[in-house]
Symmetry: C2
């Protein structure tokens, strides 16, 4: 029987070549100099600022190879970063990968991680432009993504104001439900949301737009980041939260609280954004859906004060 | 006796606040939006490309707390990245930090790492603009640095040509000697080179410049990266390699081969660059020193062919 091949069979140079060859197949628009020099050189369009974000995925902290295929881990790792660009209204320009792994990591897992990253990269025209390989006791991917955003116009968390109406794109709770189902059944996780890049860019052009954040940790947690330290609170209409078809039934089958999942589930990578009242009144949800290219739901409003109202206050609610 | 405080005593939110407060004291020129949003927003100058580089420092792979203070680890981690910008001729614009650590990492070590990073950042006007904290079994710092470089003019590794003359800034072997001394004596490493940012930018303006790389892995290894796959070889004048005063004596005291250290030592973060023959003939070393703001030594030339000639061929030479 053939021995399982590991990273130590190839060594750093050949592993980098392996990544670089695959990376060169991606669209290189905006890349002046990619993998292979001391730094990557990227070109913004005239009048653009740079948007840059970092995210880490650590084995047994953020993902488990027992529950997720390497391809899925790779895709999700880049998705989380692209979603950060979406939340700024930025267009992707490229990304870099710092991969740390034990020398005995199976080469098939390494290849799967890279394939997943590049699948997601191809989908959003976000070429891999550089990175770093290091030995470590645990596998981890630190991804750094670059984007361009029209000068001085990036969507910001700190643009929330009293009176703003709150909206979300897409549906909430689906990612957490899928993860729970995968854990119960032992089948690997397959489902993956789409980074809302087009919606973020469309939002940038909307008069009367307020703040924006992507939903990585869950609605309550991420809404809290918009409110925190600004003397603002929010009233949510918990009954109006958009969830997938059959969501309540599938939650009940797994013994999960559907409201808890939609409020605090996380990893949906939808956008939570606000509009000033006049803008919220001017646009119907159907118009917003058309402009943003994604379903949009009105879920509440912002007030001067503290806390998030209108959510069920069951003991232990947030610790499901 | 007071219990030693660890990361788990503070938690992610307060640790990020701790970093953000310290980071805000740095010069924020070029930073439109720093720590605290989904992405950082940075502004390049008109006519600049983005130069971006990543480097990882992993505990017990790249550094040991037993040999280096946390401040020194932090400083060196950012230095390695700034040196990559120097090798492109870029000016620093900012950096991000992805720090992974066990929950029981002593808070004093965390603070030391951050202090070291910010010391080096202040020295080179390179503000911390974002990042990520994650739990992991091993402490690691993945640093991402952004710079601006005049459009289409970045120094490149692939610009080497036959006939080019080779030069290095500063002195070689000092870093490896200092590390060896620290390991022998058990005294922590204190010495740290300076990223050659000014020299890189000056080189960018020099007519007849060729290729450039920073010396992180050692002269032979990094020169190899300039030559590799291009049908080029180099003739080195090993006797002309610049070393610090008293270098040979201090190497002998530690039982080290001075030639091996200067050829293959690494971590000196000097620049290795080439000039076309006409440019090399036009400028004296004194002129180059004045323009680059650093000592410059002529160390060899490039030819069409393969290999590096002129270096001692002692058995086991490179495996000291």
């Amino acid at each position: 029987m053939a021995r399982v091949r590991t990273l130590s069979d190839l060594g750093e140079g050949r592993l980098i070549d392996r990544i670089a060859r695959a990376a060169r197949r991606l669209d290189q628009t905006g890349v002046v100099l990619g993998i292979g020099d001391d730094a990557a050189i990227l070109r913004l369009r005239p009048g653009e600022d740079l948007a840059a974000s970092t995210d880490a995925s650590v084995e047994n902290v953020h993902f488990r190879f027992s529950h997720q295929s390497p391809v899925h881990v790779g895709r999700q790792a880049l998705l989380a970063n692209l979603s950060d660009l979406a939340a700024m209204g930025a267009r992707p320009l490229g990304f870099s990968l710092a991969l740390a792994a034990p020398a005995d990591l199976e080469l098939a897992r390494f290849d799967g991680l890279v394939r997943g990253l590049l699948m997601e990269a191809a989908r959003h025209h976000c070429p891999l432009v550089g990175g770093n390989l290091a030995r470590a006791s645990q596998t981890s991917l630190v991804i750094h993504v670059y984007g361009g955003v029209p000068r001085g116009r990036a969507l910001r968390r700190d643009a929330l104001r009293p009176g703003d109406r709150l909206f979300v794109t897409g549906e909430l709770g689906a990612a957490r439900l899928a993860r729970a189902a995968a854990e119960r059944t032992g089948r690997p996780l397959r489902q993956l949301p789409v980074a809302r890049l087009a919606a973020g860019r469309a939002l940038l052009g909307l008069a009367g737009r307020g703040a924006c954040i992507d939903l990585s940790d869950g609605l309550l947690s991420d809404l809290g980041k918009l409110l925190e330290g600004r003397g603002l609170g929010a009233e949510l209409d918990a009954e109006s939260l958009p969830t997938p078809r059959g969501f309540v039934r599938r939650c009940r089958e797994l013994g999960l609280d559907p409201m808890a999942l939609s409020l605090a589930g996380g990893e949906d990578y939808e956008l939570l954004f606000s509009l000033r009242p006049h803008a919220a009144n001017r646009h119907t949800l159907a118009e917003l859906k058309r402009r943003l290219g994604a379903p949009v739901s009105a879920i509440g409003r912002v007030f001067r004060g503290r806390g998030i109202r209108g959510v069920p206050n069951t003991p232990g609610f947030l610790h499901y």
